[in-house]
Amino acid sequence: MTHLRLKNVGFSYPIRISQGIKVNSDDDRIELGIHGRARRFQVLRDLTFNLEVGDRVAIIGRNGSGKSTLLRLLHGALTPETGTLQREGKTDALFELNLGIRPQASGYQNIFLGGLMRGYTKPEIETRLDDVIGFADIGDFIHLPMETYSAGMRMRLLFALATTFEPEILLLDEWVSAGDAQFRKRAQKRMNDHVEKAGILVLASHSATLLRDTCNRALWLERGRIVAFGDLEPVFTEFDAVIQKGTKPLPS
């Protein structure tokens, strides 16, 4: 059964000595080495939560709270430094619009490369080619190098790719910013279909409408730690009051 289980997961990035900058900071996430130079940045600390089939989780939090790093850990591109992460299910992701494609290759070629990257063979990819191209709906641009695409077109193709290979766990980061209303509607439908087919959806975004339309649960990150995890509405209302309106202090 598809699931994601995290227990005490922590992750830090090294900050290279050669780039080491002296810092005067009381931020406990920055680990200082010799001469007060920044050595490591502890992005995430002590995350414990479980996601099961049917969960549509919104990851919310301010910039720099660790949302993207958490998504990369869930994807498996990053490995937890401490703690354990159990992933059961085929995982696909759409993070940045520049990653995982070859800008000089055409959209058409990138569909093949994307399929091969996901372990499919060429004949298998060919059977879904029309589906990807049809959903992306970017016309003849499909045969032009992807560096000629607008952000929106890139997003369309990458979203089509990420959802076509029948993932059981789908991870999306801020993807919505580049889509027009008509595409957003189609994308929403595709995501909902996906979750109904026994899947997990994790979506990091700042858009209240999108999160309310798509998700049923919310995970609130603050400085790499979980502030709250539960049903979307209460968590999001609290987040809205504390962070976005500033009418309440941060719960400790």
Binding site: S12, H75, G76, A77, T79, T91, G100, P123, T127
Partner: protein
Amino acid sequence: MHMVMTKSHEKTAHADPWKDPKAEERRRILMQRPPSFVADIAYSFQLHAMWRALAWQDLIQRYRRSTLGIAWILFSYLLLIAVFVLVFGRSSAGRTPLEYSLYLAAGLLVWNYFAAIVTKGVAIFSGNAGWIRSTPAPFAVLAFRNVYANLLEAVVCVPVVIVFAAIVGVPISPNLLWIFLAIFLLLVNGISAGLLFGSIGAWSNDFAQLIPAIMRIAFFATPVFWDYETAAGSRLIMAIFNPMSHLIEIARAPILGGAPTPLNCIVALSFTIIMAVLALIAFKYARPRLAAWV
């Protein structure tokens, strides 16, 4: 084998190759960060369709905006041979200019391949940060891709060697079979070099600066344009203690109609084993950290 299986499934009207449980299981295994460094290398090998496609793209894109295109590989190779024949042709002992051309063509072919593997190998992880952060696919795919891309470039130059060999009149003898040993050693060392230097290159940026300088020196310390047999004094010592000269000799001797010496084989094999062990140690240590380093 796998493709054939897929096709036979397509014939039965309802069967969807995407639902084939065997294929699905394979994808599930391949699309996670492999549990160990050995599995990483094994899975990477299985993903050959991916690294072949990527290497092919590398080759096309490198020469994409040039009019001569891939012919540039051939052109710069021939130009280098011509320059060396003009400058060093006379000092080469006992070889006619034609024989010297063949000697050079064979040596340069191997040298260019190995030098490119090493200099590009340093950046296979650090230069592919986007890829590494966007997919949990195994890392060693990038080492295979590096070897295959440079192998394709070398293949473009092979006809030159064959033409020179035909003109010189190299006899067709069982000695030519040594070439297969040479190819095998060059492929294995190519993978090792990618994993070893790529891992170190991801850890330290200084290493990436150091390698081109070292390779330039190594070129002069290796009998590629000067002759192994007539070298004396310090040159001879350099040639004997330089494992590269033995690797090159295993490929070059059969092309010139001879056979590599036992010493060549022992040194080249030992070097290959040592490289492989070092590569495995470096890759085992670097692998869990690579995504955070790059």
